[in-house]
């Protein structure tokens, strides 16, 4: 937790108080069934509601490990196809020239770990579980030359990071005592909607010994959801309503300012 986090940190603190009770409950449950060797984790909320005033939010993940080990938390947004385009200069103007389509690209991706990833896990494990942006399984729809594949793949991740949708640095998973852990997952204002997977891995001696997946839904709610659904569901009617609204607004404005 850095002091530079500012506003999210404060909000995190508020959420944290609410969460502490739940964390304690988990702790008690674990203490009672002391022999249970399992990983238990949950989120402070399973629904992120994008309302008209949405400016990004934070969700707290907390849980307990069944034993020794390091924790890696991977948040993956809905997988969509993504088109990466490369500009080239034509007659002095920069124009999109080559493109590559990647299927199944996570629209959101962050990782949080209890220690630097390379300190407790090797490449094969990270690749198998797609932990870390470098280990994401991104394959183009049509085969590319190796050099191009590297460039387009890196560009895809770089652009997503610039949009704030892929984590640039690893997040921090904090241990409270030996078994309890928690981490704050931040979602920016432009977070894509859909079904997210929050995977928690317990890694011991370089191997994943336990894993758990928790779903998370990001959804537009209220007015913005209704507008979006209307625009997608009945695009023609939406257009008609938009035009009628504009004519009425223009008319009103003209009539009003004539009197002023």
């Amino acid at each position: 937790m850095s002091a530079a986090a500012g506003r999210p940190a404060r909000r995190g603190a508020v959420a944290g108080i609410a969460v502490m009770g739940a964390v304690l409950a988990v702790a008690v449950a674990v203490a009672v069934t002391a022999r249970a060797q399992q990983l238990v984790a949950d989120l402070s909320s399973h629904l992120i509601a994008i309302t008209t005033g949405f400016t990004g939010t934070e969700v707290v993940l907390f849980g307990t490990t069944g034993g020794e080990g390091d924790v890696a938390v991977v948040v993956t947004g809905p997988r969509l196809s993504a088109t990466v385009r490369r500009k080239g200069r034509i007659a002095g103007i920069w124009v999109n020239r080559d493109s590559a389509v990647f299927d199944q690209v996570p629209s959101f991706y962050t990782v949080a770990t209890s220690r630097p990833l390379e300190d407790f896990a090797g490449d094969p494990v990270l690749e198998r579980h797609q932990i870390g942006a470098a280990n994401l399984d991104l394959t183009p729809a049509t085969p590319l030359a190796p050099a191009d594949l590297v460039a387009f793949r890196a560009a895809l991740i770089r652009n997503k990071q610039r949009e704030g949708l892929y984590g640039v640095a690893m997040g921090q998973v904090n241990f409270l005592g030996e078994r309890l852990f928690r981490t704050n997952i931040y979602f920016p204002a432009n977070v894509p909607t859909g079904l997210y997977n929050v995977e928690v891995f317990l890694i011991r001696d370089g191997e994943v010994v336990n894993a758990q997946t928790t779903p998370l839904v990001v959804s537009k709610v209220g007015f913005s959801a209704e507008v979006y659904d209307f625009a997608r569901g009945q695009p023609v009617l939406y257009g008609v309503v938009a035009v009628i609204g504009a004519v009425a607004a223009g008319w009103l404005a003209g009539a009003f300012f004539r009197k002023v």
């Binding site: 999109n96 997503k160 979006y228 035009v243 504009a246 008319w251 003209g254």
Partner: protein, 306 residues
């Protein structure tokens, strides 16, 4: 206050957008133009996807031209017959434009197409305006001999399908206003502008229309071309954000009223010189963006092509 735009899928500062709408409205009221040529680049600049900027701007222009045409209508400065002939061409042009827009969007070339058409049209029109107004200022200092012929005939006036337009006192081929309307309609669809800055000079110089009727008549047909463009953009490209349009509208309408009053203090050629300068400046800025090497050669579009 931050407001989430449901179609653009981003959060913007509502006060910032209101002020932007006000500023553009002020300038458009002052110079008597639609202001789309300023608003669309500004929207793109604050991060609205170009396609959404164009679609939304056409929706906003419907309202702006309705409120603008009312004043002209009251003074009887709208030639409905001529405007309707232009409109027929305008509808064809808009439909073609929205179709081209969709194709370019799928090809990933829409950004550069918008940029190029802005540089091309704004560059030409802006320089012409600047030159013409500077000449007018010089002429004012050294008054020349009286005016020339009322109409000068060029080959364009020899086209078939002649029609009489009583209101404008014109007897010209219907193909001419229809063609002007068609070009205007394409501009609406591709650039998200009303096209007034192109229609007005075309109507004055190509149709020899009485100047008093030009603004009202072009606004009259812009209402319909922007309405059709809104409809088609919403139906085929899903790029009309009513929330954003509403914010722009509120700021724009108020700004336009203040701007109209401020415009009263400017002389005609001064206003045209300033506007010309503004248009050229926007074109130069956009041209710079096209030429300068981009910070990242790569861009990513999610889930667009099918």
């Amino acid at each position: 206050m931050q407001v989430y735009l449901p179609i653009a899928e981003m959060s913007v500062n509502s006060l910032g957008v209101l002020i932007m709408g006000w500023l553009v409205g002020f300038l458009s009221g002052m110079f008597g133009v639609g202001g789309g040529f300023l608003m669309t680049p500004l929207l793109i600049f604050i991060g609205v996807p170009p396609a959404v900027a164009v679609g939304t701007q056409s929706n906003q222009l419907v309202a702006a031209s309705v409120s603008g045409v009312l004043a002209h209508w009251r003074r009887g400065n709208v030639d409905v017959k001529l405007g309707t002939v232009m409109l027929v061409g305008g509808l064809v042009g808009t439909s073609i434009g929205v179709w081209i827009f969709g194709v370019l969007q799928r090809l990933g070339q829409i950004d550069v197409a918008i940029g190029l058409s802005y540089v091309f049209f704004l560059g030409i029109i802006g320089s012409l305006m600047l030159v013409e107004s500077v000449r007018a200022m010089l002429r004012r200092r050294a008054p020349a001999a009286g005016r020339g012929k009322l109409h000068h005939h060029i080959w364009l006036h020899g086209l078939p399908l002649k029609m009489r337009f009583h209101r404008s006192k014109l007897y010209i081929s219907a193909l001419l206003p229809a063609a002007i309307g068609a070009v205007g309609g394409m501009l609406v669809a591709i650039m998200g502008i009303g096209g007034g800055f192109l229609l007005v000079p075309a109507m004055i110089y190509l149709l020899n229309m009485p100047t008093a009727l030009v603004a009202g008549t072009s606004l009259y047909q812009i209402i319909f071309t922007t309405a059709i463009a809104t409809l088609l953009h919403a139906a085929t490209n899903n790029t009309v954000d009513v929330m954003l349009a509403l914010l722009l509208l509120i700021g724009g309408v108020i700004g336009a009223q203040v701007g109209t009053k401020a415009g009263g203090y400017l002389r005609g050629e001064q206003a045209r010189a300033l506007l010309g300068f503004l248009v050229v400046a926007v074109a130069a800025r956009l041209a710079w963006d096209l030429v300068v090497p981009p910070a990242d050669l790569f861009t990513v579009a999610t889930g667009v092509p099918r």
